[in-house]
Each structure stands twice: as structure tokens, then as C-alpha cells.
């Protein structure tokens, strides 16, 4: 498969995307079924063409075709096959191609499985997808073409950044993109609904599975990035409030809000205009996340080289996509029909509070991330906004949110009884007191200990209340086991999903609180034979030696960690890769259920006898990963709800209305 074929397919995809963006829109406007029918085949054809382009680039990477500039710059024959493949998206051009390929697959999914959708909604949504594709394909072809050749053909490639030769980081970008692109579906449906002038429960039912899928992917993607930073960067941190991290976290926050507000639209036909806005904003922020770091606008030092041409193109695209859609919103949203009755104390009231806090949190992170830029533009001087700021303002916004998260699911729709709900949550209050007490008893009475214990109590609150809600639904403690099992089976999957995701969040909170409060650090020099005590472990240094790896040389230390009768051997490394030359830290981590023992080795002061050793005790860090996995898993369980299936039967309201509504 030649790169030219891929290039050609990508070039062809451009007019196809153009046709997909325009023809169905005209069709929908003129109510011309034939024109609208173009959308489906165009989306499928686009998937075929972009799939071909992506396959061609992947092939070039696998066979190490260094006549392709992109392969030459980012690959090497000595790399393992897996990292040759992941190298496809380990660079600016290839990652954009992956982005647009995922977009094409999602668009094709709507075309193929969206038979139940009202024709005009489908045509318009696919047209918007076509426009997004058009923008991306043009961006790739005009500023970031991965198929450019190099002449003469180099015999060897320059190699992939060794940091990317890692499972955590190799699959981090595709997960993020699956999330971002998933949000593009919600966006397309939102624009289609605005054009239609109508948002209803059926619309929400269509948006939800895409949002859920996107949210699950993004959750896991952010988690992978955090996990990678934890084990690879060598100081045991897992979240830094870095602009690049924030860029993916902000759409996660608004996406979470969208997930919840779409439920209100589906169940109560309220919050319509707000949900449409959230769908637009979430994808807009995803675009910002994809682009800001590549444009040279936000960061100066970054992996993806920035060049001003790209920056201008990116800004142009953002103006059209974000500005255009928000302008459409301004024009059309006020005319959307208002929702039904809405009492403050009700399930929807709880979800509204959830949305209030999540969107404020998103705005806060956005403000902090962009503030240095804004300050500079307003000539207020150069300043930094870092971790201390974010921790100070973000945590107070999260605490009330989590408290409401415990109460909300127990409230009934339309009108609820707060006192009654709190009465049912007595068990959760007991759990809070017990866990808080245990945490304090086991730690101490410093401010940090109390804060950590309070975080644990908050986690207990959320976990216990999620459990109480679920057990009441299935009447866990009433009746026979068989009958309970029947109820478990008949409870909608979405309810199970919510419980699992909320419990995941609780476990995540426990991980965040515990690891922030009770981390222990030992930084020391050791010679072979020496031991150090770390949180109950006796860690003995047995020595270090140089080890030759396939494409790196490594200083490998050997340690024995003893606790009680169990002994484990840990071998932290410091690697120097040769293609390109770069040093990486490979921490050795011994995970027990509750905590990690985390060892890092470094050079000593000159001689080869003494080595710098960092021995960290990282309590509750595994809870972060359990929590994130559970959240993603909860999203997947919800996705299997029959009401969310792509081919789910058309709703009565969806078929009853379209003709008369727009007449």
C-alpha cells in the first residue's frame, strides 16, 4: 500500500466531506428526501477514504518506509512493532489523522445504524459531522500533511520519543480522541436540533449514548495519562493542573454536566436550551483541547511543534465552529419551547445543582488555564497560575457537588421530600462518622490529617448513599435472594451504571484525599546492603548494575522490601535511550490493595558506590485507578441499556411530530 494511495484517498475525502456538509442541509431545508439521502452514503464513503489514508500511514510505519517524512522523523527500525504502530499517532500529523478517522467511523455509525432517526435530524447531524471533517481534512492537507515524501530516502529513522514507547502513553491519545470525537456527535445533534428549532426527549435519547460513550473514553483516557505520569515521571505525582491536562479535563467536566442534563431533557423535557448549549460548549472545549497546545497560542514549550500558519488556521476553524455554533444558538435558542414544571427539591433540581457546580468548575479551570494569556493581552503583566491556585479554588467547588451527588439519586422526579431522603441516608451519615473517625485515629490531628480524613468521610458519604439507593431499588434486604436477583436483572442497566460510576467517583475521592494527605517521602543516598524503613516496609538496597536493553542502556537497582513475612524484589531503573538520546525514569512500584511502595533510583555523588534513592509510600493511589476504571465501567454498563442502543426503536413522539412542527 503506497503512501500516495493514502494521500489520494485523503484528498478525495475533502470533496466528499464538502458534499456531506452542504447537500443534506439543502435537502433538509427543501424537504427533498433524495438530497437528504446523500448524507448516509457520503458518511460511509468518507469512512472508507479516511480509513484507507490511515491504513496507508500505518502501513508505512510498520514497514519503516522512511521515504515518508513523517515516518522518518518519528520511527526507527529497531522499535518493537507495537510502538511502530502507536508511533502513527505519536506525532502531530498522525494524531490528527487518527482524530479524523475516528470522526469518520462515528459518522458512518450514525449513517449505518441511525435508521430510526427522523430523516431531517439525521441529515442535518451528518451534515454538521461533514463540516467538522471538512475542517480537519483541510487542516491536515494544507498545514500538516503526514504523507509528504523525503528525498533522498534516509536509511534510518530518527526514532520515536522513548517516553511514547510506553503502553500508558501509547493508548492515551486514542482514548482522548474517542472522547472528544464522541462529543462531536452531541454537538452535531445540538446544531441539527437548533436548525430544526426543536429539542425533545427523543433528541436527548439520541444524544445520551454518544455522550456516555465519549465520557467513558475520556474518563479512561485522562486516567491513562495520569497513571502514566505517576509511574513514569518519578516523583509519584498524578495530577499537576498543567495546561495540557486541563485542556482535557475541562471538556470532561462539561461533558459530565451534559450527561446529566440530557437525562432531564429525556425524562422531563426541561433544561433543553441549556443542554444544547452544553453540547456545543463541550465539543468546543474539546476542539480547544485538541488545538490550543498545537497552535503556539497557549504553550511555548511543547512536544508538537507549533507554527504560526497552523495557529492561524486553528483560530480560523475555532472561530467558524465555535463562533458559528454559538451565534446560531443565540439566534435560535430563545425560541426553543420551554420545559415543564420544575420544583427545586426533586431529582431534576438535584441534577440542576450538579450542572451548576460542574459548569462553574469547568469555567474555573478554563479561567485559571487562560488567565496568564488574558493578563498578558490586557497588559497586566506576566504571571503563572499553577497547582496551588487550582487546589484552592477547585476543592471548595467539589465538596458541595459530592454532597448533592449523594442525595440527588434518591430524590424522585418532579417533587421530592428532602427530609425523607435524608432520613433514608442515615446509614450514609453513620458511614461518614465512622470512616472519618477511623481515618483520624490512624493518622493524626494536624490540619492535613483532618483534611485527609474529611476527604475520606466525603468518599464514604458518596459510596454509602450510592449503595443505599441501589439496594433500595432492588430491595436487597427484602425477600428471597431469587426475587432480589430478578429485581437486579430487571432494573434498567442505566441505573446500575449510575451506581457503579458514582461508587467509582467515591473511590476516586478516597484515592485523591488519602494520597494527597498521607504520602511519605524518603530521599536518601544508599550503598549496597543498607536498609531504610518506609511505612512499615524494610527496604534493603542490594546494589545496582548497568543493563543493556534493546534500544537503551539502564542503571538498574535491586531492592528487597520486607513487611512481616512477605518479601518482594523491586528493580527501579534509569534508562538512557539511544534513538533519540533521552533519559527516562522507570519507577519500581509494589502495589498492595491499599497503597503503593514506590522506588526510584538515581546517580550518586560521583562514585558508583552510593546511589540516590527515593522511596515513597503512596497510600490510596491504587484507589485512583480503581475509581477511574469503575467510572468508565459504569458508563459502559449504562451504554448497554436497551434504551440507549443505536438501533433502539423510534419513539412515538419522534415520529408523531416532525411534519406538523415545522409546517
Amino acid at each position: 500500500m503506497s503512501p500516495e494511495l493514502g494521500h489520494f484517498a485523503l484528498v478525495l475525502a475533502l470533496p466528499v466531506a464538502l458534499a456531506q456538509s452542504i447537500v443534506p442541509l439543502i435537502g433538509a431545508y427543501r424537504r427533498d428526501a433524495a438530497l437528504m439521502a446523500i448524507a448516509g452514503p457520503a458518511a460511509l464513503l468518507q469512512m472508507l477514504l479516511i480509513g484507507t489514508a490511515f491504513a496507508a500511514l500505518t502501513h508505512a510505519f510498520i514497514v519503516s518506509d522512511f521515504s515518508v517524512m513523517n515516518v522518518f522523523q518519528n520511527s526507527h527500525t529497531s522499535k518493537p512493532l507495537l510502538y511502530k504502530i502507536t508511533g502513527v499517532w505519536g506525532n502531530h500529523e498522525g494524531s490528527l489523522l487518527l482524530w479524523v478517522a475516528i470522526l469518520a467511523v462515528f459518522g458512518a455509525a450514525v449513517a449505518a445504524f441511525g435508521g430510526a432517526l427522523p430523516d431531517r435530524l439525521k441529515a442535518r447531524a451528518l451534515a454538521v459531522q461533514g463540516m467538522i471533517g471538512l475542517g480537519f481534512i483541510a487542516f491536515i492537507l494544507f498545514t500538516s500533511n503526514p504523507f509528504l515524501r523525503v528525498d533522498p530516502i534516509p536509511v534510518q529513522g530518527q526514532g520515536l520519543n522513548p517516553l511514547l514507547q510506553d503502553p500508558g502513553l501509547a493508548f492515551h491519545p486514542p482514548m482522548l480522541y474517542l472522547g472528544y470525537v464522541g462529543f462531536s456527535m452531541a454537538f452535531s445533534f445540538a446544531i441539527a436540533a437548533l436548525l430544526e428549532g426543536r429539542v425533545d426527549a427523543a433528541w436527548a435519547r439520541w444524544v445520551r449514548p454518544w455522550t456516555l460513550a465519549a465520557w467513558s473514553f475520556l474518563t479512561v483516557g485522562i486516567g491513562l495519562g495520569s497513571w502514566w505520569a505517576y509511574y513514569e515521571l518519578g516523583w509519584g505525582g498524578w495530577w499537576f493542573w498543567d495546561p495540557v491536562e486541563n485542556a482535557s479535563f475541562i471538556p470532561w467536566l462539561t461533558g459530565t454536566a451534559l450527561l446529566h442534563s440530557a437525562i432531564v431533557v429525556e425524562k422531563r423535557e426541561a433544561l433543553k436550551s441549556w443542554t444544547v448549549l452544553l453540547a456545543i460548549i463541550t465539543f468546543s472545549l474539546s476542539l480547544l483541547g485538541t488545538f490550543l497546545v498545537r497552535s503556539g497560542i497557549l504553550t511555548s514549550v511543547h512536544a508538537f511543534a507549533s507554527d504560526p500558519t497552523r495557529g492561524v488556521f486553528v483560530l480560523g476553524m475555532l472561530v467558524v465552529a465555535v463562533g458559528g455554533s454559538l451565534a446560531l444558538y443565540a439566534a435560535k435558542a430563545p425560541a426553543l419551547e420551554p420545559g415543564g414544571l420544575f420544583a427545586p427539591v426533586s431529582r431534576e433540581g438535584g441534577l440542576l445543582i450538579n450542572n451548576l457546580f460542574l459548569s462553574t468548575a469547568a469555567a474555573t479551570v478554563l479561567l485559571g488555564t487562560l488567565y496568564p494569556l488574558i493578563a498578558e493581552a490586557l497588559e497586566l503583566g506576566t504571571l503563572s497560575v499553577g497547582e496551588p491556585y487550582f487546589n484552592t479554588v477547585f476543592i471548595p467547588l467539589m465538596v458541595p457537588l459530592v454532597i448533592v451527588m449523594g442525595i440527588g439519586p434518591l430524590m424522585s422526579w418532579k417533587r421530592s421530600d428532602l427530609a425523607g431522603v435524608i432520613g433514608r441516608l442515615k446509614g450514609a451519615l453513620v458511614a461518614v462518622v465512622v470512616i472519618f473517625g477511623i481515618a483520624l485515629a490512624m493518622s493524626g490531628t494536624s490540619v492535613v490529617d483532618i483534611a485527609g480524613a474529611a476527604g475520606m468521610g466525603l468518599a464514604a458519604w458518596l459510596f454509602a448513599s450510592a449503595f443505599i439507593e441501589w439496594s433500595a431499588r432492588v430491595k436487597l434486604f427484602g425477600g428471597s435472594l431469587g426475587a432480589t436477583w430478578q429485581r437486579v436483572k430487571s432494573l434498567p442497566r442505566a441505573s446500575h451504571g449510575m451506581t457503579v460510576a458514582h461508587m467509582g467517583m467515591a473511590i476516586l475521592i478516597a484515592g485523591v484525599s488519602g494520597s494527597s494527605a498521607w504520602k511519605q517521602e524518603n530521599i536518601l543516598t544508599m550503598v549496597a546492603g543498607e536498609s531504610v524503613e518506609v511505612a512499615g516496609f524494610t527496604v534493603t538496597f542490594n546494589g545496582a548494575e548497568l543493563v543493556q536493553g534493546p534500544n537503551y542502556e539502564s542503571l538498574q537497582g535491586t531492592f528487597t522490601a520486607r513487611k512481616g513475612n512477605s518479601t518482594v524484589t523491586l528493580t527501579p531503573e534509569r534508562r538512557v535511550y539511544d534513538q533519540p538520546v533521552q533519559q527516562t525514569t522507570e519507577a519500581a512500584i509494589h502495589t498492595t490493595f491499599w497503597s503503593d511502595l514506590y522506588l526510584v533510583i538515581g546517580d550518586g555523588p560521583g562514585d558508583r558506590e552510593q546511589f540516590v534513592v527515593r522511596a515513597f509510600f503512596e497510600p490510596f493511589v491504587p484507589f485512583l485507578w480503581y475509581g477511574i476504571l469503575l467510572m468508565g465501567f459504569g458508563g459502559c454498563i449504562s451504554l448497554t441499556d436497551r434504551r440507549h442502543r443505536i438501533g433502539a426503536p423510534k419513539r412515538a413522539t419522534a415520529s408523531a411530530h416532525p411534519a406538523e412542527v415545522e409546517a
Partner: protein
Amino acid sequence: MHRYIAASIAALIFMLGVQALAVDPYEVLEDPVLEQRARALSQELRCVVCQNESIDDSNAELARDMRRLVRQRVTQGDSDEDVLSYMVERYGDFVLLRPQFKPQNYVLWFGPFVLLLCGAVVVRQYMRQQKPKTPTPLSEAEQKELAALMAETNSESAGDKPS
């Protein structure tokens, strides 16, 4: 990845051979109270050659020297404010990871809570206008929709109602 790359670029700029990892054992002060203060201060100061890293986290040589200076000044009896202002006098506000609480940064510090308040006001308005004193009769279309909704709610989502 970005942080590491930033750190490595910094290392390249300084080209000082083997790169040390963040806080080294030789840096650590004897007095645990002073050490604690020095660590806390280091987390507030930005490594000026890195991308958004504190000097406490950074591997860069300059960050190490800044940590050393922080420890030196803490040992000499400087207050936390003294240490921070010494750095600000030389590197400007840029060196602080927690922007100062002063009028030009009020947007940053009050913004989130003002936003929350505005949001709360909008939510309140929304709740109010959703409760007309006399219920308006449903239009024909709305009635149809309601019937369809009810039918579906009954058939599909019995489990969604809390017991």
C-alpha cells in the same frame, strides 16, 4: 509527556550532562521544621525554565539552585514572605504558582465564586418562572406528547422511580 519534554528541553538548554532528579538528599535540611517550610515554599515557586512545574518537582539545574537558595534563606531566618518576595523581585509575578491576591488578580480569585453566585441566581429565576401561578392548559400537541411520554414512562422505566 509535555512536562518531561519541557524538563528535557530545559536540560538541553543547560547541557549539564547527567540530570538530577528533583529534591536530592544533599539538599535536605537537618531541621525537619525548616525542611518542611522549605518544601512548602518550593511548591509555590515556579521553575522558570520549565513549563508550569514547581521547583520542588523540577529536575532542572536552575530549579535545584533555587531550592538551595530557598533553604539557605529559610535557615538564615527569613520569613516565608521574605523568601517569596526575594524571588518575585528577581523574576516577577511569573515565579509564583499561586498568583498574588491583589486587585488585578481579583478576577481570578473571585471569578469562580461570582460565577457560582450568578449561576445560582439564574437557577433560582429558572425555578421561579417554571412555576406559573395558574397552570396553563396544554396545547393539543403537548397533550399528545404527554400521552406518549406517559405511555412510555410506564412501559419502560418503572425502575427509574425511586422506591
